[in-house]
């Protein structure tokens, strides 16, 4: 090869590289980047009156940034998380910085492939649910492969395999799963126009974890299979699912070899101004984790929804919320929404909404088999019998607009709370509580308003009576300032009749939000969907920044 030829080849390569680079740049520029950011930081002060500790670091913070790039059928992204160190109440495992979530996914015709981290849910989650609940510090994201394939019109298959996230590491077990969802109306041409819509599905999920136990022979592969159906016709919807789990001795169930099962049934009726939901659930020995020795919220493979109302008002939401009991519970819920029309006797000039809710959760019936040294089946259970009360909540809420300037929301709740079981405090009595809340907003102008929350809780048990007063002034759409005091005036220990004062202010603008607060935070329990985190008492300055684009 002479110098001239070599130069020509070199120039061609340079030219091609440039063209390729231009094409690549052009292609990349057609994509979109989305993301969100959150940073929470707290300076802690010691406060012996409420039992608040000052950690050695004095200042703790949690932060993350999500970035997702989408270009046509291709999506990739990551999440960077930082815990320096994690805010009090978050699991200790969150320490340090790192990229904890990264993935790439593409879709080609009927096939969608994801490599890396992903969240996924089969049916109602009885067999499998990987999800994140940031406020709880809950994240059981999968790291592995997910394949979705639309086999034919109305039939979707999903296969997953991988390990679950455990803070900055992964659980020991490998999770494999498969789900099929079939829309009967799409599959069968005759039913296409039928008013009754039927979707059924099935899933099978198994985990593998080596047996290194010296006491027992443990199953290294454990599986859960589930079947479900959703029927919808006009205003009526029925959703049912049943799951069965093979023998899965674990620290949750005391290493018994009994199989597990869960059943979920929800029916609803809705029309304009009226809605009714009835739900029932029974789960028996259905804790399913990818590490049999884990506890708390770590490495859960499945999700057992709590059939209780998710309250938002402080005293109701964080003093006595219900946490799903994985080892066994029977729960029922009825939820009614009714809108009194404008001009009706109760609706008055501006109408009125009422919501009524009743939920109850009990233990399942169990009879010990006393077979610890033989088959270790643990207990027998009558499917229809109900055991001790775990939780009861009757509540109703009235929403009423009194005038153009004044509107209110009034709530009453009656709770029965089995503190011994839900909080694991041996020997403490059940809590019986009555709670009343008045939430009234006065609008000065279209932009300026004052909201007041008056809450009161009566109980003879636990910490006794509480009262809360909140005043929140908003200058929309950007500013708010609030002052709140919670007072445990009914505590039998006079030294614990403490005020929990708190002042906060915030600024919102085009997807950015900055807020600060200063004061005491009462110890409590923060729950989402029956999954809970204990929040310790604290005192200090809190800063939060969120942003999305």
């Amino acid at each position: 090869m002479n110098l001239k030829t070599f130069s020509l080849i070199l120039l061609s390569i340079c030219g091609l590289t440039q063209v390729f680079a231009q094409n690549f740049e052009q292609k990349m520029s057609q994509g979109q980047i989305r993301g969100n950011f959150q940073f929470d930081m707290q300076y802690y002060r010691e406060d012996s009156i409420i039992g608040a500790q000052q950690p050695n670091e004095q200042v703790l913070s949690n932060g993350f940034l999500n970035l997702v790039y989408t270009n046509g059928n291709f999506t990739t992204g990551f999440r960077y998380e930082s815990y320096q160190n994690a805010l009090l109440g978050f699991p200790e495992g969150y320490r340090g910085n790192g990229i904890t979530y990264r993935f790439a996914t593409y879709q080609k015709e009927k096939l969608t492939v994801t490599a890396g981290n992903f969240y996924e849910q089969f049916g109602n989650g009885l067999s499998f649910r990987a999800y994140e609940e940031r406020g709880l510090g809950y994240d059981n994201a999968m790291d592995g492969i997910r394949i979705k394939y639309e086999l034919m019109d109305g039939v979707t298959l999903t296969g997953i395999t991988g390990k679950q996230r455990l803070f900055f590491d992964f659980g020991e077990g490998i999770v494999r799963g498969f789900d099929a969802s079939v829309s009967l109306n799409s599959l069968v041409p005759k039913l296409k126009e039928n008013k009754t819509k039927i979707i059924f599905g099935g899933s099978a999920v198994s985990k593998y974890q080596p047996d290194q136990d010296s006491r027992y022979i443990l199953p290294e592969n454990v599986s859960t299979v589930a079947g479900r159906v959703n029927v919808n016709r006009g205003k009526v919807n029925i959703n049912a699912e049943y799951a069965f789990k093979s023998n899965d001795p674990s620290s949750d169930n005391g290493f018994i070899y009994r199989s597990g099962e869960a059943m979920f049934l929800q029916t609803s009726y809705s029309q304009k101004g009226f809605g009714l939901v009835l739900a029932a659930k029974r789960n028996d020995n259905m804790s399913f984790r990818s590490d049999r020795n884990e506890a708390q919220q770590n490495l859960l493979i499945n999700f057992l929804p709590a059939l209780t109302k998710q309250h938002t008002y402080n005293l109701l939401a964080t003093l006595y919320p219900y946490a799903t009991q994985l080892n066994g519970e029977i729960a029922f819920q009825a939820d009614l929404i009714y809108k009194f029309k404008k001009g009706s006797l109760l609706g008055g000039k501006r109408g009125m909404d009422i919501q009524m809710n009743y939920s109850t959760a009990n233990n399942i019936d169990t009879t010990s088999l006393n077979d610890e040294n033989t088959l270790r089946q643990g207990y027998s259970s009558d499917f229809f019998k109900i055991g001790e009360v775990y939780f009861k909540d009757f509540n109703f809420q009235i929403n009423k607009k009194f005038s153009k300037k004044v509107k209110g929301r009034f709530t009453y709740a009656n709770l029965v709370y089995n503190q011994e079981i839900i909080e694991g405090k041996p020997g403490v009595p059940n809590v019986y509580a009555n709670i009343g809340i008045a939430d009234v907003t006065y609008k000065f102008t279209t932009r300026k308003s004052l909201r007041t929350e008056t809450q009161i809780l009566f109980t003879d048990q636990d910490q006794g009576d509480w009262a809360t007063l909140l005043l929140e002034y908003s200058y929309s759409p950007h500013w708010f300032i609030a002052i709140m005091d919670q007072y445990n005036y009914g505590n039998k220990d006079s030294e614990k009749q403490v005020h929990y004062y708190n002042v906060s202010a915030g600024y919102n603008n085009k997807g950015n939000r900055i807020s600060m607060s200063y004061g005491r935070q009462r110890a409590g329990i923060f729950c989402v969907g029956g999954v809970c985190r204990v929040v310790p008492a604290s005192n200090g300055l809190y800063l939060s920044v969120t942003s999305s684009f």
Binding site: L151, L157, F178, A204, S214, Y216, I217, Y257
Partner: protein
């Protein structure tokens, strides 16, 4: 339509694979654990095959036979070191590992407890062939479990007192030297008694564990039975040797893959356990050794803190 059937067919197979991946356990307790009988502050754990279920039967069983006894060395002042070697008869470089063990054994004497575990691809027997037909792998799949647990990726490999994962033979003496001068946290005394009952060779291995410290962790006792000096085929640096001297071969895991959980480690307290078991009459009783060791029962840390070994006669 036929295409649809094909799709559904493959879909069903795919689904079935997941259904199959679970195991129904009928009996939660490992068979190897045997029958536990408490007598005079000793927990006797007797092989079920010996048909001893009560204290009377146990007394008769012991009293009606003539036992010859031998005791292991005292390790109350010395930390004995366990070396589990992973090997295979068709592994051409493995004899290098054995030679290193023999060298270390000569140097350290009773304070080194070597165990040869035949596992992995090189340990597969050639059934029906004229050479390499002997299966040296221990019954019950325990060797493969250890092989995976200590992440053996090449042969020979060995793990010294279960300090992390298995390493090459160059590392063994370094690891041994890092441990051998440690003050022991526990003393493990062993007395083996042997009797031939009918045609059954039976061993009573009496283990007395005395804690020198109070320790917060959980510990397990693991018992192995070895046969030394087995003359059989071995590939040795490219040469097929029919009478190679296989040393300290793991023949039986006496109390299951991960042993028996011990009582809490409290300074001054002694726990005495006696395993009574038989072994294959084809194994040479003169070369049978019992190995006992105590290790941390932790998912990520299985360090052996004391070990001992003794022949049975």
């Amino acid at each position: 339509m036929s295409q649809m059937k094909t799709k559904l067919f493959f879909g069903s197979i795919f689904l079935a694979l997941f259904f199959l991946t679970c195991e129904k356990i009928e009996d939660p307790f490992p068979r190897e654990l045997g029958q536990s009988i408490f007598l005079n502050n000793i927990e006797y754990i007797v092989d079920q095959s010996l048909d001893v279920g009560t204290t009377n039967e146990l007394n008769n069983f012991i009293d009606n036979s003539t036992w010859t006894s031998i005791s292991a060395s005292d390790n109350s002042e010395t930390r004995f070191v366990l070396l589990e070697e992973f090997t295979g008869h068709k592994c051409t470089f493995c004899p290098r590992g054995t030679r290193e063990i023999v060298r270390l054994d000569g140097e350290l004497g009773d304070t080194l407890i070597p165990v040869g575990i035949h596992a992995g691809g090189f340990a597969l027997p050639d059934i029906g062939a004229s050479s390499y037909f002997t299966d040296f792998r221990v019954e019950g799949g325990h060797g493969e479990t250890y092989n995976n647990l200590f992440q053996v990726s090449s042969y020979p490999s060995g793990v010294v007192s279960r300090l992390g994962n298995a390493t090459g033979s160059d590392q063994w003496s370094i690891d041994i030297n890092s441990l051998k001068n440690d003050k022991p946290k526990v003393a493990l005394q062993m007395t083996n008694s042997y009797a031939l009952i009918g045609q059954k060779p039976v061993v009573r291995s009496n283990i007395a564990i005395t804690w020198s410290e109070t320790l917060p962790e959980d510990y397990n006792l693991q018992m192995y039975l070895l046969e030394d000096h087995i003359l059989d085929w071995q590939l040795d640096l490219g040469t097929d040797k029919p009478d190679y001297d296989h040393r300290h071969v793991l023949r039986k895991v006496i109390n299951d893959t991960f042993g028996k959980a011990l009582e809490d480690a409290i300074i001054g307290e002694t726990e005495t356990i006696e395993y009574i078991f038989e072994f294959d009459p084809a194994w040479k009783a003169n070369d049978i050794e019992v190995v006992a060791f105590i290790f941390k029962n932790d998912d990520t840390d299985k360090e052996v803190i004391q070990a001992n070994a003794s022949y049975i006669k």
